[in-house]
């Protein structure tokens, strides 16, 4: 029979764990709410700006070129931007990211990396990959200015023709219970709309002119879509952490219940045997 003191100690330890995970769950839940708001409120802007761009590209002649749309085919290198959390304890999120990264690496060895977030940094370094830059992700909702250093590095490499395209590995948020790591294209921006037919019926006025407008619209669009990826990655991290901490709390409580039962049984057994000793009934 287990020692009663050891049982007591294990109960206390489990209680502490439960308290900690519960606190982490609460923190993640409040961060999650903020992130959700940020994602939702930036959505109308992105939808509208892509609508305007689609409309504008339709009406621009086919000779228009822009580095954001152009595929510079000189290099055969790809730039992969990885968004990962700084901290662990967020369930399978990091493991899934690493798995996706390993898969990607096998398929496309000619890649330079830019990493945001400490958790995948070591992993990428381990394979002796070319890392251009590495930033911490931070533990708060990324601000819009967080994308400027990223954009600077991306543009340096992309515009100079060192890389032919830019991809991003990030965890997409599907629901509270499901976050999927995915590699998606960032640059060049897809120009499926370029093939659509001109509907010249509605006349448009452009100021200052189409080219300048498109240039700055595309820049805005790129910045916004990158920022959206950033907050979505953050949202996934918090959701994953909240759920895994919720599970951890439930598990800790189960353990406490089991241990408590065993503790009570042991104590009762001890009392019974002491009583038997006192009343003088032969024990054995």
């Amino acid at each position: 029979m287990a020692n009663i003191h050891i049982l007591k100690r294990r109960i206390n330890a489990a209680k502490n764990v439960s308290k900690t995970t519960r606190a982490m769950q609460m923190i993640a839940a409040s961060k999650l709410k903020k992130a959700q708001n940020a994602v939702l409120s930036s959505r109308p802007y992105v939808n509208k700006i892509s609508e305007v761009i689609d409309n504008l590209i339709e009406k621009t002649d086919k000779k228009y070129t822009n580095p954001y749309l152009d595929n510079k085919s000189g290099a055969d290198k790809t730039l992969l931007l990885i968004l990962s959390p700084d901290k662990g304890l967020c369930g399978g999120l990091i493991t899934n990211l690493v798995r996706e990264f390993t898969k990607y690496q096998k398929e496309t060895p000619e890649t330079s990396y830019v990493i945001l977030g400490k958790k995948l940094e070591g992993q990428v370094l381990h394979f002796e990959n070319e890392i251009i830059a590495s930033f911490p992700f931070g533990t708060t909702l990324p601000s819009f200015s967080a994308i400027y250093p990223l954009i600077k590095i991306i543009e340096e490499n992309y515009n100079s023709g060192k890389v032919k395209n830019v991809k991003i590995l990030t965890t997409e948020f599907e629901s509270l219970f499901r976050q999927v790591p995915k590699v998606t294209n960032l640059l060049p921006l897809s120009k499926s709309t370029l093939d659509t037919e001109d509907n010249t019926d509605d006349f448009y006025l452009f100021e200052p002119n189409k080219k300048e407008l498109l240039d700055s619209l595309l820049k805005h669009y790129f910045e916004m879509s990158l920022y959206q990826k950033l907050i979505e990655a953050y949202l996934s991290e918090q959701a994953s952490r909240m759920i895994s901490m919720q599970n951890a709390t439930t598990n800790a409580n189960d353990i406490i219940d089991d241990l408590q039962l065993e503790y009570n049984k042991t104590r009762q057994a001890k009392i019974t045997s002491e009583l038997l000793d006192m009343t003088g009934v032969p024990g054995e």
Binding site: P44, V52, E212, L213
Partner: protein
């Protein structure tokens, strides 16, 4: 005609208006119902909208404006309604940004400096808008 003002953070205004005065790169333009379809970039400045007899004043820093079938959409980097501007906060932001620019101009990396300048621009605009809003009301 219907006007929407959207920023990356939130939707600032949604509703029927009668006239819009917007700051574009080539100067202020006025938009009345049945305006021709238009896409243009905006600069920092005041955006005035008229609803019936009332005027509303907004501060904008850059963005785009689209008119399409009497539907106006403004995509602004930042937009604030004049009577919602908190002058004290704007004043403090202005001071902070000025200090950063003055003291650390040589040490700071370009990005931070640009950010401080953008903040200063925004704070100045907020103050300006709040100021002219007051004047209008006192008249």
């Amino acid at each position: 005609m219907y006007l929407q003002i959207i920023t990356p953070e939130k939707s600032v205004f949604n509703g029927e208006v009668e006239e819009v005065l917007a700051p574009t790169l080539n100067g202020q333009i006025g938009i009345l119902p049945h305006h021709i379809n238009l896409v243009t970039s905006l600069t920092d400045g005041e955006l005035i909208i008229k609803i019936k007899d009332r005027e509303k004043l907004f501060g904008l820093t850059g963005g785009f404006l689209e008119v399409k079938d009497s539907q106006i959409t403004i995509l602004a980097d930042y937009a604030a309604q004049a009577d919602e501007v908190n002058t004290q906060v704007a004043e403090a932001a202005k001071k902070r940004a000025e200090e950063i620019i003055k003291n650390k101009a040589d040490q700071l990396p370009q990005e931070d400096l640009r950010q401080a300048q953008a903040e200063l621009r925004r704070a100045l605009l907020d103050l300006h808008i709040a100021g002219s809003h007051k004047k209008r009301h006192n008249r």
